[in-house]
């Protein structure tokens, strides 16, 4: 899907075209009269499907996902993909120690030129001990985003929509398990969601992917989710601090997940009213294993005097921190503005020598 704003529309300046079918649409239209495409929603493009040559031997023929010549795992467009919708951007990276990127991300902007703009973010981390975890993470991310966008467009409240959306992902991933002989290691993943609206950030999660509030203007940054891990429970209970809790050998073992035979409790949903401008960060543990402190993340994202060069660049910087730290896991980082618009008030959140958020896509 292309970003309609990166392409100059033909005809008079106020004429627009439908991103779905190319038909002319009027500025006030909510849906395309021709094909029904939702004109108020922009979504990130999925990972590409291009076949890349083998990085080891240059071979171009692959069977079963491996190079026909040297056997290397076929390079995947998922290995690193970057997407930018201006007010929300993300980077998903394989890291240095895993052979596949099992994380997925999906995000959308709804009604950005209206009175009630919203940004929806979903980050999923495939459970490595399952088979094909990237199938679970991509399916869960897409299903949740679709559900949330549809519900929000119908005017349903974000908290209830979040809970229902994550449960729809749980159903979809459970159905996917029917394709696998052994349910116990069928594809599974974690999930973290954020709905950014004026006055409220709603987060939802299952597992150990996280959402953070990164405050601008010297406000207090904080983690908005509590990990479904042994360590996460200890931290949430206030028993120990994060650095101590995650030293235990099985601290990272997740207690809940999206997939077959997942514990039946409803997803966690929480909302938060920001006191000032800032950024919402959703990420997989490939990032927060290196930097878990919210204030540190805010600093590394560029919300300090280092200069602001946009959300996409901030995602790249955060990813680079995890890669330099060793890149032990897949790294997915999605950042969105609060308030959820590309208006002067959001550009003010950054230091004075920064530039306004970009509209330009950085899709490779």
């Amino acid at each position: 899907m292309t970003d309609p704003r990166t392409q100059a529309p033909p005809g008079p300046p106020d004429a627009r075209t439908c991103s779905g079918c190319g038909a002319h649409v009027l500025p006030g239209d909510g849906y395309c009269e021709e094909c029904g495409t939702d004109l108020l929603v922009r979504r990130n493009a999925p990972p590409g499907s291009a076949t890349l040559p083998c990085p080891d031997c240059g071979g171009t023929a692959f069977t079963d996902g491996y190079c026909d010549n040297c056997g290397r795992l076929a390079p995947s467009p998922r290995d690193r993909w970057e997407r930018d919708l201006g007010v929300v951007a993300g980077v998903s990276d394989r890291g240095l120690r895993h052979s596949r990127n099992e994380d997925s991300m999906a995000f959308a902007v709804i009604g950005e030129d209206t009175e009630y703009p919203a940004i929806v973010i979903v980050v999923c981390d495939g459970v490595s001990s399952s088979i094909d975890p990237q199938r679970a993470s991509q399916l869960a991310a897409n299903t949740t985003l679709d559900h949330l966008v549809r519900a929000l467009r119908q005017g349903e409240p974000a908290p209830a929509s979040t809970s229902a959306a994550i449960q729809s992902a749980q159903q979809a991933v459970t159905t996917l398990a029917e394709e696998y002989r052994d349910r116990s290691d069928a594809p599974s993943c974690t999930i973290a969601t954020a709905v950014v609206e004026r006055g409220r950030v709603t987060v939802g999660w299952v597992g150990d992917s996280r959402v953070y509030w990164l405050a601008a203007d010297g406000g207090v940054s904080r983690r908005l989710t509590d990990d479904d891990t042994w360590a996460g429970q200890l931290i949430a209970g206030g028993a120990v601090n994060e650095a101590e809790a995650y030293k235990a050998p099985h601290a990272h073992a997740i207690l809940r997940w999206i997939g077959p035979d997942a514990p039946p409790e409803p997803p966690h949903v929480r909302d938060f009213a920001p006191e000032g401008p800032g950024l919402v960060l959703a990420c997989s543990d490939g990032l927060w294993n290196y930097v878990w402190d919210a204030a540190d993340l805010a600093g590394l994202a560029g919300l300090t005097a280092n200069g602001w060069s946009g959300l996409a660049a901030a995602c790249v910087s955060l990813t680079a921190v995890a890669l330099q730290g060793g890149g032990q896991d897949n790294i997915t980082t999605v950042l969105a503005y609060y308030p959820p618009t590309a208006s002067p008030e959001t550009t003010e959140i950054v230091s004075s020598n920064g530039t306004a958020p970009s509209d330009e896509g950085i899709e490779p």
Partner: protein, 438 residues
């Protein structure tokens, strides 16, 4: 005659794909299960059967052997399916047609079975033993029946003494891939290694029939097994990446059979290993591949194992496939874990080796080596629950402690017991499935 539907094959791979940085040896157990023939109006796949009966002079000492051979051959003839072409060959220092009297196969029906059994009743013992002659005649008889599942039974009571070992080796090599052959030794004057070589080359079973009274049931079972085969000329095709070497390919269940030397190159990176004919059955293969060592985070396909069927025109049809992978990790908890299947069959292959080495040492009077090897065998058999082998071992050694493999060689051992242990040393037991993540 309509073509019977090919059986369903399923291929499962059991391995620990995780390797530490710098390692390059990948081990996997490939389990192949075939559903067998889908019964059609014609009663299954086309088959052809030859029975080779030792008629050398020694078969009359005692005469019970010759009469048991006659009874068993008649039982086998009765088990041949209606319409299946067959012949009976008498083996001595030459090979002679018993039924029919000229060199061709006759379809089984009421009158040909009766005529064949009458001819078998007239068999008498006299002459020497030159098994290459028998095999060569069987090979000639199967000519023209290449699209059938070709099966032979070979019964002997003695050493292949009227020709050189090279003659036999040459005959086996010529017959490889032409037909499968189940071999039986009757009495205790035959040589286990000789029959093992024939059965190994011709992808059949080998066993001892110490008591002639059991021979008829055994023959009937072998023919019934052959009639139950649904597809001939099945091969294990291994693709492995450039820069890799296949270290070995062994069938490890139901018996150990090293196929490494049997590779037929089918492409720059692929080769076929013969597995013979398949009915409703399951077999396990241990594949060991050396690949270029990778770095942490790398993943490679170390081998693609396919079962292919070669039809009459030489076309390969893939019946099933499994992937053997290598993933390099710095997580020692993952990379140091030995896959249960691989560990089990590594033990079973060693068990077969130490029994054969132990018996060989015992034969040449090296009792220290024999005690050590057979002690190790007792230990391996006990640990893996291979009760049949444990029982056979206990007739050759006195076991003091199976856990440590402490044994004493028995002073007096029955020849038949020793040969049974030797013959059946390659029989393995399976391990419970369900640990593909190893």
């Amino acid at each position: 005659m309509s073509t019977p539907t090919l059986p369903q094959f399923t291929v499962s791979v059991y391995q620990n794909e995780f390797l530490p940085e710098g390692a390059g040896e990948v081990n996997a157990i490939v389990t192949v299960t075939s559903s067998g023939a889908v019964a059609g109006p014609t009663g299954g796949a086309r088959a052809a059967q030859v029975i080779m009966v030792d008629c050398s002079g020694s078969m009359d000492y005692p005469s019970a052997k010759m009469s048991a051979a006659r009874q068993a051959t008649k039982a086998a003839i009765d088990a041949i399916r209606e319409g299946v072409p067959f012949a009976v060959v008498a083996g001595t220092h030459v090979a002679r047609m018993v039924f029919p009297t000229t060199e061709y196969l006759v379809p089984a029906d009421v009158s040909t079975r009766a005529a064949a059994k009458a001819a078998v009743d007239r068999l008498t013992a006299g002459g020497g033993t030159a098994i290459s002659q028998w095999l060569s005649l069987a090979d000639r008889l199967f000519t023209g029946h290449e699209d059938a599942i070709r099966h032979a039974i070979l019964l002997t009571d003695g050493k292949d003494e009227h020709e050189s070992p090279d003659d036999l080796a040459l005959a086996i090599a010529r017959c490889e891939g032409r037909f499968t052959c189940d071999c039986r030794g009757i009495g205790t004057d035959w040589v286990v290694a000789e029959l093992r070589r024939i059965a190994g080359g011709l992808l059949g079973s080998v066993d001892i029939v110490a008591d002639p009274i059991n021979l008829a049931d055994d023959f009937r079972a072998m023919v019934e097994g052959a009639m139950g085969k649904a597809v001939a000329d099945v091969r294990l095709r291994l693709w492995s990446p450039q820069g890799s070497t296949i270290k070995f390919v062994k069938q490890v269940a139901p018996t150990v059979l090293d196929l490494s030397g049997r590779r037929l190159q089918t492409g720059p990176l692929a080769g076929d290993y013969p597995t013979g004919a398949w009915g409703a059955e399951s077999r396990d293969y241990h594949v060991c591949v050396a690949v270029r060592p990778g770095s942490v985070g790398d993943e490679m396909l170390a081998a693609r194992a396919s079962l292919v069927s070669i039809d009459g025109s030489g076309q390969a049809q893939v019946l099933g496939q499994g992937l053997v992978r290598a993933v390099w990790t710095d997580d020692a908890a993952l990379s140091t874990k030995m896959n249960r299947q691989v560990a089990h069959y590594t033990g079973q292959a060693e068990l077969a080796d130490v029994i054969q080495a132990g018996l060989e040492a015992r034969k040449v009077g090296d009792y220290d080596t024999a005690t050590a090897k057979l002690g190790r065998a007792v230990q391996l058999a006990a640990a893996s629950g291979n009760d049949d082998t444990t029982r056979l071992l206990s007739k050759v050694v006195d076991v003091e402690d199976p856990a440590t493999g402490t044994v004493r060689l028995k002073a007096r051992v029955n020849d038949a017991d020793e040969m049974a242990l030797d013959t059946r040393s390659s029989k393995t037991v399976r391990v419970g499935k369900g640990n593909s993540q190893g």
